[in-house]
Symmetry: D2
Subunit: 341 residues, 4 copies
């Protein structure tokens, strides 16, 4: 068995990675780190992980591969020595997602500790970067919102079918905010509530722009992105609104659907569906469901995607990346059926 | 006391009307109708209404004013004789909302029983039609989605500040679907779920178009509207995305906000807020909260509104209409503070 | 208008008091205090209270009556001078609920700052202490759990119908834990979850024992009380299990129900219902619903009560107390219909 | 691979069986039946099961083993011929759970079609009947409530440690009511609500009595059982209250815990925990968590259990039974880590 270390198992992404790997046929979690939980059994932090019988430690020790769920920026100091040692790493922060250090520093308000790594790291959205991952030692798992929106937009955007004016409206479960002791995430404040946020700009936006631009350089996409918290722990539903590009106005709904079906044919975890998807259909699974239609009154393409933010939008995508890095079957350990209802 | 009859108290809008009127200083509910519940105490259908000590009846009897929460189309036969008798009526169906019989018949797939009434009926969005309501005998209370979206868009649209390409993305609680025995609204299917629907077109869309067009005839608005069910009983949050109109591109965020504050200054139930509103801030109250901003990266105006679909988007708006019809204080019986948390 | 000051409006009980008093015909909230929020508009702490247009202050100033929602023990220093001044006070802490200073100190682990006040303060469960409240200057509003359980048990206990072995199993919404920044109350941890707690003893237990003992001194009740958090903000459902007392084993279910109906006949806010009550039937109202039955297989009386912990189990009960203290109609400002659904 | 047929895949237990078996290493679902869904792809009934690529059929056809999730009583006619053919069957109805035909008929109000099978069928609570299952062709999977309560009570009851007066108070998610088109299970009616039901007697009660009596014949247990719906799809938390039996009053909490730990030592899916369990810790897993304590004020043992009603209280227990019947590893295909949060 290949040994895996999980950095910062105390967060939801770390814990979810542990859950998923429990049934992975080729790897075994042998070390889990955490700051405040160090020295205690993992089951004290997360009773649902009691089957593991592992203690949380401060330093990861020797492992074959690392999945890091450390917080943004703060995590880099711990990660850099491991990168230097050449241990294969899947990193869940934004530290290595953006290719432009300027973009990174302007959105995250920190100086990047090692900008040269930005070009080496692979953006781990498997469906777009499958071929680059196997040879890499550092994969930056994508943000939860970019996963759903880029997968929703890529097929039409790549073909120049849609113009650059794009609205991305996301509805997310609360686990995206982490296991936080903040009154804003108190149950009472969020149950029965819809909360729009980050209207001045969300850090996941530059990932969307970067990935679309990489598919089709010109024109530059002009995305407005507004995320909304909805009262559920998991799941992101993203509704993308675009316009048909100049010269492509006669595209039919059938052509659109066919384009999407072809784009994702054979993908193990992206499914183009014929009725609007619901987040709950993906709960606990690594699936991203995509529905595309054309608003016949305005001729606007509308694409809806649904996924579990902690799986395909988080820990599951990370395991998919790890599988590719290690030469394992891409689907190993990953579910294609969610827990419903 | 003025006597009020509620038609179809069995639905959520009817029941909510009864709740609100319980504390109205000038009117008293003296008759409530229902089909299957007829002959039984109201408390059997709705235990929370037990304070009323009324039986549900089949026919409304003599009352001074009627609030009808009958279902679309099916309700008209019961309502027409009452209209003919000249009883003041607030109607919660779509039967009298649209001015164009063609639009009505194409969206609702029924022949209108009395098209000439469409011109006489007043669309009861108080903030836009306040002056027309007092003289009217028939007010069509607006749909829940148009209430939030038209109030969000009206100030900018009326001034020609935004262009005709508009995206309306709504997140609604489940009570909008009524007290329905349908597996789609079963608790298990919706809890922890976001469900987009009506992507082929929602019946509330023509109301939005009609009301915006009435404010500013040209150009015709081109709205894409997608509603999403989110796991909560009440509340609608609507996010509207537009573009600055040609020639208005230099509008600043401050100008936008000022325009909105002026537009709704003095309104008892529309509040322009300086931080993004949340649906739960309006629960049980007749408020509609509106937030306007400008996405500085794309220069797109984004307007967010929040309301309780059963109050300002339903029964509360109906009572506000009734107050105006009867010459009572517009705010009588209506709350400006919601139940939180 | 009588002026009211609310101490610690930042907590849910304080905020709920403000909501309720907004429509009270005889009193007006003129001063609201808070620690961290002092100097800021109330709407910043609670946007749903924006209609108030009040700033939070540090010191309450001159008011005719005070409702205190300060935290247990910590609040006493602020309250004592006001008590000494003779301002009528409704206090929502446990500081003045228990008659026995020993009991208080053993459960709350603090020295009571003024034990002699314990005998002067009235336990503000209106249905049991209605006559003592008008003459009092200090009313201790009951805990949320004792309200539901004592009202459920009192009629049978007072008559000696049930024996001393009593199980009280409560299911509570999360607002009982307050507006807390604690990861245990994070939305993700509680949504979709049932969490039993305080199995070693809950501080509301001695209130139950005290109030039952006051009704019928012997035998001493032997209560096991287990509260459980369920995923909703408001509401407590309490299921009480007892045995028929020796010599009363032939009591019929009809006799039981009659006893309860008589006990609460004429009560404006306690309703004995003929089908099991649900918490949501009371949301936002001051009602406590009670259902009594006899398990015919075991001959055990089972009594179920439902209420809104922030209203009849909190702020609403406090207003009811205040009304009685001030000689106002007991029901003034209080709703007998909840917000449903 | 062993072929499995699922009868009535349209219900939640059927669908959950399909989900679980998707990753079972030794068996493969080859046939799924349903009435109204017959002839359509399984993904139309349950989009989350789309990975299966199976059509729903009317008749199960040839399979090696059957898991039946047909409704009570109605299902027997379809099942009897298969029983006669000797196909190994795990049945999720109550049809074969009770040994006494009188009890069955009095609770279920139908004549049993084949009473002699009641003695042959094994009650599939693995922890109590592990040895009887391998040789059986007909296993009756237990009800969801008896699973949690019998596992909670068995260790103390078997040893005569607790007396016969037992209170079982359960809090259940809504999926226990099935995928029902009934207004009582409409989202709006249940969200934010606690609903006690079956106070006159619940059909799962005789299973509890039967199983406890089988462990210790005398005295007969006198159980009062009240289930409550709480607003979540999955999970049952059961709180059991008992008394120490005569002569055992000096039992300590340490002795109690030791007794429980010994009773379940080595059990793969029952875990005796040292802090009160929460339902969400079991979501999607086959675990039953048990916590035992002694209320030191009253000397009453209190036992709390938590499980996922669709897994250990349903489909998961059924797969555990199937594994034993077929001589497979008992844990095959079953998770010991839940989906959290």
């Amino acid at each position: 068995m290949i040994s895996v270390g999980i950095l910062n198992v105390s967060g939801y992404i770390g814990a979810e990675t542990a859950r998923i790997l429990r049934r992975h046929p080729n790897v075994k979690v042998t070390s889990v780190t955490g700051r405040s939980a160090a020295g205690k059994p993992l089951s004290e932090t997360y009773p649902h992980l009691a089957a593991y019988d592992l203690d949380v430690v401060e330093e990861v020790g020797d492992v074959d591969v690392i999945i890091s769920a450390l917080p943004h920026a703060a995590g880099a100091p711990a990660l850099l020595p491991l990168i230097d040692k050449g241990v294969p790493i899947v990193d869940h922060t934004a530290d290595f997602r953006l290719k432009s250090v300027t973009e990174f520093e302007s959105w995250y308000k920190v100086t990047h500790p090692r900008p040269e790594l930005l070009q080496q790291a692979i953006y781990g959205l498997t469906e777009l970067h499958r071929k680059e991952i196997p040879g890499s030692k550092l994969v930056a798992a994508p943000g939860c919102f970019p996963t759903g929106s880029v997968l929703a937009l890529a097929p039409a955007w790549r073909e120049g079918l849609i113009g650059p004016d794009i609205i991305v409206d996301s509805k997310t479960g609360i686990s995206g905010a982490g296991r936080s002791a903040d009154v804003r995430y108190n149950f009472n404040e969020l149950d029965g509530n819809v909360v729009p946020y980050a209207l001045g700009g969300h850090r996941h936006m530059p990932e969307m722009t970067q990935e679309l631009s990489a598919l089709c350089e010109s024109p530059a996409p002009r995305i407005s992105f507004v995320p909304h918290m909805v009262p559920m722990p998991r799941g992101i539903l993203t509704t993308c609104y675009a316009s048909l590009a100049e010269g492509r106005e006669s595209t039919t709904i059938e052509q659109l659907r066919e384009m999407y079906e072809e784009a994702y044919a054979g993908e193990p975890f992206v499914r183009v569906v014929s009725t609007p998807p619901e987040t709950k259909q993906t709960l606990g699974s690594n699936l991203c469901l995509i529905y595309v239609t054309l608003d016949h009154r305005t001729n606007r393409p509308i694409v809806v995607s649904a996924l579990d933010n902690l799986v395909k939008g988080g820990a599951g995508q990370g395991v998919q990346d790890m599988n590719l890095m290690l030469g394992l079957p891409e689907t190993a350990g990953l579910d294609d059926i969610g827990v419903y209802p």
